[in-house]
């Protein structure tokens, strides 16, 4: 076990800067509301709240729901960027509400919040996730192997393990897919998230289903629809290089098959 380095420890206890006097500010949240039980039309509604700018957008949504308007509806669970429930369009960009701090959004101006695009809005910020998960299931997102299973674990070198590490980080939040202009125009396109999850297995040295998956992605609604706009990479809250992963799948299709 490592031993303490005392010189560092001695000067350490000062990093309170992040939490020094945290003055509350008044921020306006402009939220796109939609409830077909009430009206067929969506409309923008403004809410003003007092909030510490170091809090999350999710905290702001909770303050509104809990103290002002209980009908405001959104999905959330873990509140720290792991479960993927609360992808939404914040100031025009896809982000997770629980990973976006108010201070990073120019809160002196109204902060706009709307549902992610390309999936049917069901109520306020809640969209129909079924097409998204269907595309995921279509790429066979599971390890495919042949022959008998070994008694112990399959061996995999650290380098081979590292090869697909980036795409294992995906939390299926749909921020990438719903930021993709191709997906907005054509919901049949698999979308970046499904391709990321295919990549995770295609480049796993243990997997033997690569050909099947590449065949699926070679489809007219597959990887070739990607126009390399990098929206997906910008949107990914896990920092996955989504566009690069899609390019790698394209390259695999070319080098393996043609």
């Amino acid at each position: 076990m490592a031993t303490p380095t005392l010189d560092k420890a001695d000067k350490a206890p000062e990093p309170e800067a992040g939490f020094a006097d945290s003055p509350y500010i008044t921020a306006t949240f402009r939220i796109r509301r939609f409830n077909p039980e009430v009206s067929d039309e969506a409309q923008w509604q403004d809410f003003q709240i007092e909030i510490d700018p170091k809090e999350r957008v999710l905290d702001a949504l909770h303050k509104i729901k809990w103290n002002q308007d209980g009908t405001l509806t959104f999905r959330r669970s873990c509140a720290h960027g792991i479960c993927g429930s609360d992808a939404m369009r914040i100031n025009g960009k896809n982000r997770l509400a629980c990973k976006t701090l108010i201070k990073d959004l120019s809160p002196e101006k109204p902060i706009t919040i709307e549902a992610i695009k390309g999936l049917t809005v069901l109520k306020d910020l809640v969209v129909d996730m079924d097409p998204f998960f269907q595309a995921y299931r279509d790429v066979m997102p599971f390890l495919i192997t042949k022959g008998n299973e070994p008694t112990r674990e399959r061996l995999q070198s650290p380098e081979d393990r590292e090869r697909f590490d980036d795409t294992t980080k995906c939390i299926l939040c749909a921020a990438c897919t719903s930021s993709c202009p191709v997906f907005w125009n054509d919901g049949q396109y698999f979308g970046p998230a499904a391709i990321v999850n295919a990549h995770r297995f295609i480049f796993d040295s243990r997997d033997e289903g690569g050909e099947q998956r590449l065949e699926i992605l070679n489809d007219r609604d597959g990887v070739w629809r990607c126009r390399t706009t990098f929206n997906c990479t910008d949107a990914c809250p896990r920092g996955i290089e989504v566009t690069k992963a899609i390019q790698e799948v394209k390259r695999a299709l070319i080098t393996r098959r043609f």
């Binding site: 303490p4 792991i82 109520k123």
Partner: protein
């Protein structure tokens, strides 16, 4: 109202639920009901690892693991169950690898292992590398891998279905499970699922605390559904406070950070754990470390202007090691605190993390109606259950293990039971309780607000039944919870609609939290000793003569409708380990 018929119904789609589903779907017609989507479950937030004595990197064996688990649980662990946990751990890890889980690897390509709190070589000699991991996102990888395999097996999910009632029918004097009643979030419709067997795998109840690592959705729905139908809850006073939550937010920073060499320091920069646990130091069990942190804070050695936290120091570790082994938690520090862990220590405080107690089961996952009688057709696994492999304090990495070992066992047992059994006839108006509950809340014009009561509950629990407890603080909590339960009857919601009415569901969840908080505080008041996660300042020692036994709490309803809690006790199963003083 719709009625569905399945052989097996699983409530919850986290690690335990999906591990069970992979087994039961092969053997019986199975439906999995989850109030989220499967990949949103909180298993995904687990970070550090899953224990198994693979001995891939140094000498280890399952017997040492069994001992550590029993000692970690302060001897309240049922030793037969702990032995199963440690033995089956090895296959549980290998099964996950074969399902595709991308474990970290040794240079030889085997599954790598790291140190973790309370896991030791040869009965406490020194820390051992037993935790199999995947960076600091082991839970994420388990959740994804299990979901991937559910897709492969064609498991049938009902997403965003909230199970609100457990149907228990008495047949010839025996309580049997007939199915569950669920509320569909998208439509507000109520569904009855008649099933030969039901498995609860719905997770913990951490949301009755304010500073917690738990998701907003961890509201003890499964525990509450069973408890309200007269089934007992075991050892609810035992709740784990994880030492390293992000200060004030409670977000988990894995114990793996200390396994990689991270050190806890007070305001003087002192490595204070050397005082409290000379051998295991920062890797002592979680209850010990959390108490040590609060002792430092109480004695004026806490950090910051208010002296209310300590530091997790990673600054002496090479940045490459942090990037490779702890990428997520270092990012949390940057995102939520604006702190660079390469150069600055991270402010932390203990955070409410894990319920050791829950629905009592035997080692096959069968739910108990009392100390010995099983409820035919009813199963539970994972955090919702109490087997009890965690006793008074769970060891880190044993929960990811628990969900895999006992999720699998419950899945097999439930499906096999369904195969040889008939449906139990549904009671008349099976959905009545849920219909009444939903209508009462939707129609209520009361003046109490859900958010207010919830906040008061959380503040009361943090102040009175957290790491340190006394008769007085627990009584304060009991009284406050009683007041809140009364006020809850006057709660109303603003959203009166049917579609995605999360306002209504939050009100129902609060009702569950209040019921379970009451059980927890009542059980804690009666346990006049200190053991594991339950520390009574007025009874600072473990008392094996009077309290080497599990608490069993039952809801009683008098003829005039008044509710009360009856406490009973169940013996601890001891096999080869005699209780000893617990030192790290």
């Amino acid at each position: 109202m719709q009625i569905h018929k399945y052989d097996t119904v699983i409530v919850g789609a986290g690690g335990a639920g999906m591990r069970a589903a992979i087994e039961s779907t092969k053997r019986s017609r199975t439906a999995v009901l989850t109030k989220l989507y499967p990949t949103r479950s909180h298993t995904g937030a687990a970070q550090g690892g899953m224990a198994a004595a693979l001995a891939n990197v140094e000498e280890d064996n399952w017997e040492w693991h069994t001992f550590d688990t029993i000692k970690g649980g302060d001897y309240l662990v049922d030793q037969d169950a702990a032995e199963i946990l440690a033995k089956e751990a090895i296959d549980a890890v290998l099964d996950l690898e074969k399902m595709g889980l991308p474990f970290g690897r040794t240079p030889e390509g085997r599954i790598d292992q790291r140190r973790f709190g309370g896991h030791s070589r040869n009965h406490g000699e020194a820390p051992v590398r037993r935790a199999c991991y995947s960076g600091d996102r082991t839970g994420h990888m388990i959740l994804q891998t299990l979901y991937q395999n559910c897709v492969k097996e064609g498991v049938e999910f009902f997403n965003e279905f909230y199970v609100l009632d457990q149907l228990v029918v008495e047949v010839d004097g025996v309580k049997k499970s007939a199915g569950v009643v669920a509320y569909e979030l998208a439509t507000g419709e109520i569904h009855v699922f008649q099933a030969k067997s039901v498995i609860y795998a719905s997770g913990g109840t951490g949301k009755f605390f304010k500073v917690t690592s738990n998701a907003h959705t961890l509201t003890g729905d499964g525990q509450a559904a069973c408890y309200r139908r007269g089934l007992p809850l075991e050892d609810m006073e035992f709740f784990q406070f994880h030492p390293t939550g992000i200060w004030r937010m409670g977000i988990l920073l894995t114990e793996g950070a200390r396994g990689e060499g991270g050190i806890l320091r007070n305001k003087d920069g002192e490595r204070f754990m050397e005082k409290y646990a000379p051998v295991m130091k920062d890797l002592a069990s979680r209850d010990v470390v959390s108490r040590s942190i609060y002792t430092e804070i109480r004695e004026g050695r806490g950090c910051g202007p208010e002296g209310d936290h300590v530091y997790l120091d990673l600054t002496h570790l090479p940045p490459e090691q942090l990037d490779a082994k702890l990428p997520d938690i270092t990012e949390f520090a940057r995102t939520y605190l604006g702190i660079e862990p390469y150069t600055d220590p991270i402010p932390i405080q203990p955070t409410a993390h894990y319920a050791m107690g829950g629905i009592p089961t035997n080692v096959e996952g069968e739910v108990l109606a009392d100390n010995t009688t099983v409820v035919p057709g009813l199963y539970a696994a994972g955090e919702v259950a109490c087997v009890s492999v965690h006793g008074a304090n769970r060891l880190g990495t044993n929960s990811l293990l628990d969900i895999n070992v006992f999720g699998r066992r419950a899945g097999i047992a439930a499906a096999e039971y369904a195969e040889k059994s008939d449906f139990v006839e549904l009671p008349e108006n099976p959905a009545q309780l849920v219909v009444d509950q939903v209508e009462r809340l939707r129609d209520s014009t009361g003046t109490e607000r859900v958010a207010t009561i919830r906040q008061e509950l959380q503040e009361c629990m943090d102040a009175n039944v957290m790491v340190f407890r006394t008769e007085q603080t627990i009584k304060t909590a009991v009284d406050k919870i009683a007041e809140l339960r009364k006020r809850y009857l006057d709660v109303s919601v603003q959203d009166k609609g049917k579609r995605f009415n999360t306002d209504l569901l939050e009100a129902i969840e609060l009702g569950n939290l209040l019921d379970l908080a009451e059980v927890m505080a009542t059980s804690a008041l009666a346990r006049k000793e200190s053991r594991g996660g339950h520390y009574r300042e007025d009874y600072p020692n473990r008392d094996d003569v009077n309290f080497m036994r599990h608490t069993m709490a039952y809801r009683e309803v008098a003829e005039d409708g008044t509710e009360s809690i009856r406490l009973d006790y169940k013996p601890v199963v001891q096999t080869r380990y005699q209780p000893m003083e617990r030192k790290y």
